[in-house]
């Protein structure tokens, strides 16, 4: 501020002094002599620096011929001033800075005032002169004193600027230069910018502050002029000279920087253009960008005036503009960055046509060069690469009726060009990517840290667009997907595991059909060499996505389906000859098992498609070799739950592929069951539990109300009314559960209102019930048998007992035609235990040994409960039969059998009907009339002697007698598993009844009953003869 205020003052003071000199020729001659010799003859003494300078200024004002010499002399004055200034800075504090610098300061200002007035008065004559002088001097000063201690390093532009602008000499020079420039820009902008560029080249790093200052003072002008100068220079030097090195740089030159330096030597202007624009880019990048685009557009705008005289020159310039711009951008990453993002916006179809027309005029090799350069540039794009790629692909895609893009289809030539460009780009990237790898590979891990990995900005940027790329690739549009697929490959190789993983993951997620899925495997094929462990990583990522719930249910289903398809195809491949281990399918198949527990919760996904896909995947993939038990339980729980869901789904109309889901589910369960005893047990337990679950009973023709018995009535009431727990607790006697004790109350109904009405919930379709039952039993039996086969205990094809098959045919009309594999004892035991646990409300008196018959009176309530459970769930009988088939598992169901027998006994004892036929309990479907007989038939628990077929001709009393006999027998011969022996040749357990001792005691009532009804039961007598 001070200087600005001060200079005009000085100016006003100085100007008249300068002009009013009485200048006689003789005086002037003396003055010249004094100036030349540095010696004042009139006073006879040597001139001081200051007086010398004054003398020079006077000469400048009076003798025009001395101009050059004076300016040259002033250079030294300025130089001396700057040196003193810097020295003052360096020894600041040591002495008060009143040395030479202060002496010269007013001279410097005087010079500035004089020159500035000259320029003001006659800019046309003086501005070129002074500006050339000033800029040269500035360059000289700043490079000469760059090494001084006080001078900051040339890289810190701001400090440099601060230093020099605080120095009076350089600030004055700068001011005068700005003044000149402001004057000259009006009429010969080229010349002054040329001079600036030349000087900038000469004093390259040290002069930057000048350019920066000037550039920020006249940004628009400087930018456009600098560009124009560069263009002109480029035009003059011809493209051939400059193109080749860049071409080398574009091709695989090891060090692009070297090539750039090389080139900038050859074409000096463009180098400094780049430098200057680089400086200005930080603050005026918008202007630069605008200017570049303007040049580009202008050069392509149809040349309106062919009549104007200079049109040939402009046409030539226009032709050169595009190569020039490319060259320019190639040299400066900053400019590239400034341009890259918006380039695509400017490429509209008409412009493209123009561009193509123009470039066609070039000779073949130049076209090639340009293409190469463009490719190189694209590969260096820091931003906007994705858009550009999109644009290129759009333009290069052949016009078709199917694809109707937003923009009208371009000219064929343009399309071919783009096509070519794209292919070259891919090739180039390919080279870059793989040469990068080649460089990296031979290095040791330690040295690879030191060698910087070459960065390809284009690919860097695209890394964040992998998902879009994948999406587009999967559209399978003609050539486009080939390009993109190739690009994906390169990107994956470039980006390493993370990108490759993401790409693969995306493809797996987004592929909708086998064709699209092949893209994934095609992507994997080239990558498998360089990126081991890709598939597991991809799966990890998929799982992570599943967990974070980023995927829509559609995508989720796709993903699961694709994985399943891959696994499935691998299975098929493995069957065929020459199964490649390296294929993606194999890898997937190997990797999926580790994540099964992650997928299993998807079985219960709300979307049926997802759950079905999950089931499919789980059903076809191997279980992990060493799965933890918690995972197994988790999986089995989910699998069973899904099974019931699938059954329900199958029943619903509108779900077309319910059967498929069920079959997946069954396969999964079978696989699980075969995996390990633990899994088997878990599955069976879950199955039984599920079958009896309140929500599922209707699937198997059961009634849910039976389950309500598990809850105490008061609790049920409470639950219904929803009153507060405090109220309940305050009411005496309600908090204690008396169920099962002698105080318990039977709720058969209310007095005066009769029995409780049986809840007639709507019965499901019997066919469906039968189907469901079949499915359930099939899977249960499959589980049981497969476990036997898997464990190897019952390895051989055990001979099936005829009675077993026969009994099956007897009951329920179900025809299970599965293989003859015997039921595994362990499996059957698991089912038995599960049954007991689920049906039996308490475990009191749950031991295997049978108590005396009277003892049953203490367990009446429990017995009734169990009987009701059987009434409500017909499936229980079938399950019980399964248990019975797996000897000796039925032993564990003693409690249940006892309960059933006890209720029967009580029933028949109380029955007053003349014949069994009249009893309401004899209705088929409600309860099989004679469970012990059924038990006898299916198991060797009871001796054949006590077995008798129920007859409709017996009286209830007789039936009771028989049943009591059975009970007695059971009490006498406690059914425990220890009584069974394993028969190795048959693979089954057998019980030797001969060791039971005397059975006559139990057979006697039977004999008497037979005798009494000999007419009807005579045919049975032979069975009890021995």
């Amino acid at each position: 501020f001070f200087a600005r205020w001060f200079v005009p003052c000085l100016f006003a003071m100085q100007t008249p002094l300068c002009h009013a000199l009485p200048a006689s020729p003789q005086e002037l001659a003396l003055e010249i002599k004094a100036f030349l010799t540095g010696f004042d003859q009139t006073q006879g003494r040597k001139l001081s620096v200051r007086d010398h300078a004054r003398c020079a200024v006077r000469l400048l004002c009076t003798v025009p011929a001395c101009r050059g010499a004076v300016l040259e002399h002033l250079r030294e004055v300025y130089d001396e001033y700057v040196a003193a200034f810097l020295q003052d800075l360096e020894v600041e504090g040591d002495r008060d800075g009143g040395g030479v610098g202060a002496n010269l300061e007013d001279v410097v200002k005087e010079v500035h005032a004089v020159l500035s007035e000259f320029v003001r008065l006659n800019p046309k004559a003086w501005a070129p002169l002074v500006s050339a002088w000033a800029v040269d001097l500035l360059g000289h000063l700043s490079s000469k004193h760059a090494g001084r201690r006080a001078a900051p390093h040339s890289s810190s532009l701001n400090e440099l600027l601060q230093l020099w602008m605080s120095c009076t000499a350089t600030r004055c020079l700068m001011d005068i230069y700005s003044q000149c420039l402001a004057a000259m820009l009006a009429w010969c902008p080229d010349a002054c910018v040329d001079a600036l560029l030349d000087t900038s080249v000469q004093h390259s790093p040290h002069f930057d502050w000048v350019v920066a200052h000037i550039g920020s003072a006249f940004p628009d002008t400087i930018i456009s002029r600098v560009l124009a100068c560069g263009l002109k220079d480029f035009c003059a030097h011809g493209m051939t000279g400059s193109e080749k090195p860049s071409q080398q740089a574009a091709r695989a030159s090891p060090n692009p920087m070297m090539a750039a330096v090389d080139k900038s030597n050859r074409v000096p202007k463009i180098g400094s253009v780049v430098g200057i624009l680089g400086h200005l880019a930080s603050r005026h990048s918008d202007s630069i960008k605008r200017e570049l685009f303007r040049m580009f557009q202008d050069s392509l705008s149809p040349s309106a005036g062919q009549t104007t005289p200079g049109w040939e020159v402009t046409a030539h310039l226009n032709r050169v503009t595009v190569p020039f711009l490319l060259q320019l951008i190639a040299l400066s990453p900053t400019l590239l960055g400034a341009v890259s993002f918006e380039l695509v916006d400017s490429l509209r179809p008409p412009l493209l046509l123009q561009l193509q027309c123009q470039l066609q005029g070039l000779p073949q090799d130049e076209q090639e060069n340009l293409l190469g350069l463009a490719v190189h540039l694209i590969s260096q794009f820091p931003a906007g690469g994705a858009r550009l790629l999109h644009f290129l692909a759009d333009t290069a895609t052949p016009a078709s009726v199917i694809i109707s893009g937003p923009s009208p289809s371009p000219h064929d030539g343009v399309r071919e060009c783009c096509d070519r460009l794209l292919q070259m780009l891919l090739l180039h990237l390919h080279k870059l990517v793989y040469s990068r790898l080649d460089i990296d590979e031979p290095c040791n891990p330690s040295s690879s840290l030191s060698t910087p990995v070459r960065v390809i900005p284009f690919l860097e940027e695209l890394q964040s667009h992998v998902a879009e790329l994948c999406g587009e690739t999967l559209r399978l549009e003609r050539k486009r997907h080939l390009w993109l697929h190739q690009l994906l490959c390169l990107l994956s190789v470039y980006g390493g595991p993370t990108v490759a993983t993401e790409a693969l993951c995306q493809l797996l997620t987004l592929a909708r059909n086998p064709e699209e899925l092949t893209l994934a495997s095609q992507l994997y094929a080239p990558l498998s060499v360089s990126l081991p462990g890709l598939v597991p990583a991809a799966l990890d990522r998929c799982v992570a996505q599943v967990h974070t719930q980023n995927l829509s249910s559609r995508e989720l289903a796709q993903l699961l389906n694709n994985l399943a398809a891959a696994v499935h195809s691998q299975e098929e491949d493995a069957k065929g000859p020459g199964a490649g281990q390296a294929s993606m399918a194999a890898q997937v198949a190997a990797a999926v098992p580790a994540h099964l527990h992650n997928f299993c919760h998807l079985l219960l996904h709300g979307d049926h498609a997802v759950s079905r896909s999950a089931a499919r995947l789980l059903s076809c993939s191997q279980l992990p070799h060493a799965a933890s038990s918690s995972h197994l339980v988790q999986i089995s729980r989910a699998a069973v739950a899904h099974f019931f869901l699938a059954l329900r789904q199958r029943g619903l109309s509108g779900v077309s592929d319910g059967g498929e889901a069920v079959s997946y589910s069954m396969r999964l369960l079978a696989r699980l069951a075969a995996y390990s005893p633990l899994a088997l047990k878990s599955v069976l337990q879950q199955l039984v539990e599920g079958a009896l679950h309140k929500g599922n009973v209707d699937l198997f023709g059961g009634q849910s109300q039976g389950q309500g018995g598990g809850i105490t009535p008061s609790a049920a009431v409470i639950l219904d009314t929803g009153s507060s727990l405090l109220d309940i607790n305050c009411t005496f006697g309600t908090t204690v559960n008396f169920a099962g004790s002698v105080w318990s109350v039977f709720h058969a109904g209310e007095v005066g209102k009769g029995l409780k009405p049986p809840s007639n919930s709507l019965q499901p379709d019997p066919d469906r019930v039968i189907q469901n039952l079949q499915t359930l039993l099939a899977i249960t039996i499959q589980c049981c048998t497969s476990a036997g086969a898997g464990s190897g205990a019952n390895g051989g094809n055990g001979s099936s007992s005829g009675t077993l098959n026969g009994s099956r045919h007897n009951h329920g009309g179900e025809t299970l035609s599965d293989g003859p594999a015997p039921i595994n004892a362990e499996a059957a035991k698991a089912v038995a235990v599960a049954l007991v646990e689920n049906i039996c409300p308490d475990v009191a008196n749950g031991e295997l040994a049978w108590p005396p018959e009277d003892h049953a009176k203490t367990t009446v309530e429990r017995d009734i409960y169990i009987r009701r459970a059987f009434e409500a769930n017909p499936v229980l009988f079938h399950l019980l039969r399964v248990v019975a088939a797996g000897r000796p598992a039925l032993c564990y169901c003693s409690v249940i059998l006892r309960a059933l027998l006890a209720t029967l006994l009580a029933h028949w004892e109380a029955s007053r009907e003349p014949s069994v036929l009249d009893s309401p309990w004899h209705r088929p479907g409600v309860l099989p009339p004679c469970p012990p007989a059924w038990a006898r038939a299916s198991s060797f628990l009871l001796s054949s002697a006590t077995s008798t077929s129920s007859s409709p001709h017996l009286t209830p009393f007789e039936v009771r007698l028989l049943l009591v006999g059975v009970w007695e027998y059971m009490r006498g011969n406690t059914p425990v598993p220890q009584k069974f022996t394993f028969s190795a040749e048959k693979g089954l357990f057998y019980r030797d009844f001969s060791r039971d001792g005397d059975v006559v005691r139990y057979v006697a009532p039977i004999h008497s009953v037979l005798h009494k009804n000999i007419d009807e039961l005579g045919h049975l007598c032979w069975r009890f003869q021995n």
Partner: protein, 433 residues
Amino acid sequence: MSDIRHSLLRRDPLSAAKEVLYHLDISLGSALQAPGGPPALEKATVDLVEEFIFHASRERSGPPKRMSCVQELQLLEIMCSYFQEQSKDAVRQLIFSALFGLQGNQADDCRMAMLGKLVSMGVAVCCVPILECAAAWLQRSHAVCCVGIARVLVDDYCTLVPGSTSTLQQVFSASPRFCCQFITAVTALYDLSSEELTPPPPLLEMVVGWITEDHRLLLLTFLNMPLTSPLPLGCLELTPLLGLLRWSIKAPLAAQRKRKHGLTNGQPEAEKGAGCEELYSKLHLSVLQVFLMLQAHLTEKNLIGRLSVLQVDHVAALVEEVGRLGEELNPLNAANHIQLALDRMAQALQVAMASGALLCTREDLRMLCSRLPHNNLLQLVMSGPVQQPHAPFQPNLYPHIHAPRATPLAHPAHVISPHSFHPAIGFAYRPIR
């Protein structure tokens, strides 16, 4: 000579130049003493001068050692004081032409630049010998070079350094001969063919000042010139008369053109044309008066009708220029200016013909001016004196008009514009840096 050269090569540029100057002085001075007229310059001497004073690059010696501007100034100062102190006019002339005589080689550029500075400095320190020598040089040299020197002076004193016109002004008193040549060169330089070639107002003012002060100034060279000696090819005209006429005639048109351009360029030009108008008008009057004076001189030397001071084809060129300029301008807007120009031309033609400075028939004149727009006065001049009741000049003085013959001074085949490029003398003036 090669010994000298080798010894000089070892020295710094300034002292070598000084040495050459000294050598030149000795050898030419002694040669002048010897009988047999002025000696021819030796080739070796010229080479030395070129190498060590003008630093023309010798192909074998690599990059020449250039003097710095200060050293150059020192050299100029030495030359100045040398010429100042050299008492013998002949030696002065000889050395001057040895130094600055154009050789038609590439050293001429440096020679011209140096000469420009020397003359400029001579003007500043009022070194009469140098100005005299320069005047002689201007007479002998090609117009292009003379124009270059004139441009240097004009740039230095009229445009670059404000307020230094007065320094140039005093040339008039110091060396009228140089002054006359300078005016000729300046009129050749500024032919008003474009805006850049319009004389700067300070220059105009100064020239008009000189002329009004002493009309004879314009005829100085013409009168001092021995009529027998042929003029060198392509040199300046003997008098600045035609050039000055061109100024005064074209000035109104040029001013109008400038105004028009100023309008189209959107910059309202400051109205300082009024002063110039007056100056041009003054100039016109002076030139006409000089014609009258010329008639007296011609009559005195009995050259009437034998010597055409104004070349007919130069005049024809002027007429054509005026016609073209008039067409360029919108005749509606610039009618006044065109009429003024034509009036002036008619006056000038009439006076020139009448005074015998222009040898031309009325028929030729009519043909010449047939393309021009209508102008009453011009019409009158073309139609000629039907009757001259009070004609100031005797009609019998006209017979020579009908029989033009080649005069020793006329070189119609070599009408060379000072601005046209001449391959032999590739001189292009650059402002010093």
